[in-house]
Symmetry: C2
Subunit: 166 residues, 2 copies
DNA sequence: CTAACATGGTGGACGTGTCATCTATTCCCG
DNA sequence: CGGGAATAGATGACACGTCCACCATGTTAG
């Protein structure tokens, strides 16, 4: 913080956008999670994992790959997949080419539960989000989000400069 | 689900916007939390509570009010404030006019920690989010988010129709 | 007045996410 | 080839959030 002689607080417009976005996200995630839990035995993270797995023709994926695709830390993926294995939604398969690793594989039950949950989930995403916005707004949101994300990837070094570490 | 003869899956554009937004939010919240933790002893929820409290002239607020302002459930607020009290960031004050209730009050320590953390936090919000977008994009985001939020509030009944409870 | 109901808040159980640390393997460079 | 660095993953401790059941107080209608 030494280098910041003056703080540039957020303007009213900036703050409004920032707050609205945070509230929207909070509400959306909450409703989505609740809807899934009520209509199926799946949590939202479960759902995301199952979607990722069933997107593959062989319904399997290395653990670290899953973590990458979902943007999760490896540890999180490990914990979560462990729980899903316990509930019979996925199983682990030793990997021949790399004896450190595993494949995470969807089970028949996992597939069934995903197929049962997907229509309701998509309908909720539509009802709460997609159908509330014009196509133009959707594109604008997508552009903005991707701009922010792009900045993230480059600034993997900017994270460690004086502003952040103080 | 009985009434949905056909599922309207997301189009590529819709899915792209939805995904990008989710990833953006995940990354932002993660970085924000990490930055706060590294630069201060505060978690992100701590920060939000302290901001809410210090926004009041008397630095205090009823627990249920805090929950409303932050969009939290009462239980969450109760748990979190409890932890903050343990760490000396806030304290509880019996309420005369309603003997069931409490005021949550910022302590001097809470104020100090917030003031120390705020500049770095705001700088991070700027670096990762605000400064990546044009004013037009910010407004568009704000409008879109508020449109989605508005829909939430009305549809407190639509939540319980056939699509959700199945 | 009092019985029913609503509201403010607590507490525990559970699932989830993060961090730090650890082991086993594989990669790579001299 | 040998040895250090990177990688795959597991694990334990902890903070966080949700749900649900619960208590105490307040409010309201008959």
């Amino acid at each position: 913080m030494k280098f910041m002689t003056k703080v540039r607080w957020l303007t009213a417009r900036e703050e409004r956008a920032w707050r609205a976005l945070q509230f929207m996200q909070m509400r959306l995630e909450g409703e989505l999670a609740r809807q899934l839990a009520a209509a199926s035995g799946l949590s939202y993270p479960d759902y995301l994992v199952l979607v990722a797995l069933t997107d593959r023709p062989d319904g399997r994926m290395r653990l670290f790959e899953l973590a990458e695709v979902l943007g999760w830390e490896k540890s999180r993926a490990s914990h979560h997949v462990g729980r899903m294995v316990d509930r019979g939604l996925a199983k682990k398969q030793k990997c021949d080419s790399d004896r450190r690793g595993f494949y995470v594989v969807v089970t028949a039950r996992g597939r069934r539960e995903l197929e049962a949950a997907a229509p309701g989930h998509v309908a909720t995403v539509r009802r709460l989000f997609v159908d509330r916005l014009t196509p133009g707004q959707l594109d604008a949101l997508g552009d903005a989000a991707e701009a922010v994300l792009a900045a993230f990837d480059q600034s993997a070094d900017g994270q460690r400069d004086g502003r952040v570490r103080a």
